[in-house]
Amino acid sequence: MKRAGFTTRWLPILLLLPQLAVIIVFFYWPAAQAVQSSFYLEDPFGFGSTFVGLDNYTYLAQSAEYAKIARFTLVFTILVTFFSLGLALLLAVKADKVIRGAKSYRTLLMWVYAVAPPVAGFIGLLMFNQSWGPLTELAKSFGWDFALGVNSTDTAAAMVLVSVWKQVPVNFIFFLSGLQSIPKSVREAALIDCSSAMRRFWDVTFPLLAPTGFFLLIINITYALFDTFGIVDVLVKGEPGNNPLTLVYKVYVDGFRGNDMGGSSAQSVVLMVLVLALTVVQFRLVERRIHYT
């Protein structure tokens, strides 16, 4: 740790205590129960149960459908993260540049932020309705016979679009405030040093946005993996069918919807381990390069 900081003994412990208490009671305790029940097949009401060792895990490992869902989740997460960050960055850079109407744009671009994921899903259903959805019509006018819920590629496209739609404003707000916190002196220096706007962006602005970007990257990956649940649930109309699914939705389908406690707990544990690994790697790779000024 680079921070020298204070040396008081009891204060930090006192400060950490509430957070740790809440986490231990409402996170680790239930999580431990999930790990435990991943080794059992149990009646959800709690009457019968059989210890099955690693059966729940081997069942997942052998399931071709589960592998398919994992692959889709990966692609989905990459697409949602990339497009919602990219689009937001583009808009933020533009909003930072314009002088006239900057405030109106900022206000307009923030509205969607507040939409709840299931409500975003409902709006998606409205846009992609099979008989009159405006976006269905639009796709058809380009010769794309779009059918939400029938063709799994189309359904996937709708999921990505709605998820991006909902996430752009959050990223926009952060990028914009990141951009606006770049000191004037730096901007002016950059203006003298490099003449190309593109180079100026990549050499000066982008590195300075890196801490914001890293934070947003994590937030967006978590969003794409987990918080899109409500969107997926509504867009598939509550029926997995032949639709593409994400890993979290699968946990919900098997655990919450299908009452397969053991199977869904094993999935939660797999998910936990996967994301933990991902985060550690991210930390190692990215945090080293980011300069905190």
Partner: protein, 295 residues
């Protein structure tokens, strides 16, 4: 891209204009992409439900706005008559604000301890907290429910709020932020003889205003938008939240009835308003804060 910022001395007047037009085009397209769907939802709240079901959103503004608004706000859809739009609005508000404040207070305290103190188990504590970013409440909802019950938290605001707080986003955010604050600040404070509590309250908290505002927005909206946990933990109708109310209105089994789309869509729009107002309110405030610190 021929991208030239307006504050650059004009090389040629034409290219300058061209880039401004480009900027505005991008921003207008972006705004349309985000807003048109909402406008379409608004339109459907003005037409009869049957019309919406048959033809979807259109251009005509109907005469149902008033009725749908009244129904959304004041008509109860439950047994007790207590879950009106007003009541649900209030519950969502309590959930959103309680959640946001809880997260920020706990998160700041924990982040402060992690960044500014020499703590033997700091890394361990950080990971202990940070791991909680990973597993959303949805996947551990059954054990969480049992625990909430054991603690007597069913049908209470505490039960609604506290289990949701058990994740690290705020702590993580404040940690990142504190680490970006110049170290000289602590040094200076110590030379001035300020203790850790004084430093926290007098220097760090005011300095973090903008971050707090940002966190408040994120957390308020997150809490506001919860669905599954509130459904589980509350059974009393006077505890229902808005998102739950919306889902209740749109539910239909086997085509037995026609859902009240107009009312549900109106409720959805009403549900968007408070967070948007908070976002807009805090936005101008924290952008101002940011530019002021930039002298």
């Amino acid at each position: 891209m021929t991208d030239i910022t307006p504050n650059q001395p004009p090389l040629a007047k034409r290219s300058l204009k061209w880039s401004t037009v480009m900027d505005h085009t991008v921003l207008i397209l972006g705004s349309l992409f985000l807003l048109v769907p909402l406008l379409m939802v608004l339109q459907t709240t003005s037409t009869p439900d049957l019309e919406t079901i048959k033809n979807g959103p259109g251009l005509a503004i109907g005469d149902q706005l008033d009725d749908n608004f009244m129904a959304a706000m004041f008509k109860a859809s439950g047994f007790s008559g207590e879950n009106t739009g007003m009541r649900m609005l209030m519950n969502s508000m309590i959930l959103g604000i309680g959640f946001a404040i809880g997260k920020i207070v706990l998160g700041m305290m924990a982040a402060y301890a992690l960044v500014y103190f020499r703590l033997r188990f700091a890394t361990f504590a950080f990971w202990l907290i940070f791991t909680t970013l990973l597993l959303p409440l949805e996947v551990r909802i059954l054990p969480s429910y049992e625990i909430a019950q054991k603690l007597g938290l069913l049908n209470t605001y505490t039960g609604l709020i506290v289990p949701l707080i058990a994740s690290a986003t705020a702590t993580f955010f404040f940690r990142q932020y504190f680490r970006s604050i110049p170290e000289e600040l602590v040094e200076a404070a110590r030379i001035d003889g300020a203790g850790p509590v004084k430093f926290f309250i007098d220097i760090l908290v005011p300095l973090s205003q903008t971050m707090i505002a940002a966190m408040f927005i994120i957390m308020f909206v997150y809490g506001w938008n919860q669905y599954l946990w509130p459904t589980m933990v509350t059974t009393d109708e006077d505890m229902y939240t808005l998102v739950r109310g919306i889902k209740q209105l749109t539910q239909d089994l086997e085509g037995t009835s026609i859902p009240e789309y107009g009312r549900a869509n109106m409720l959805a729009l009403i549900a968007i308003l408070p967070p948007v107002l908070i976002v807009i309110f805090f936005q101008s405030w924290f952008v101002k804060g940011l530019t002021e610190s930039d002298k």
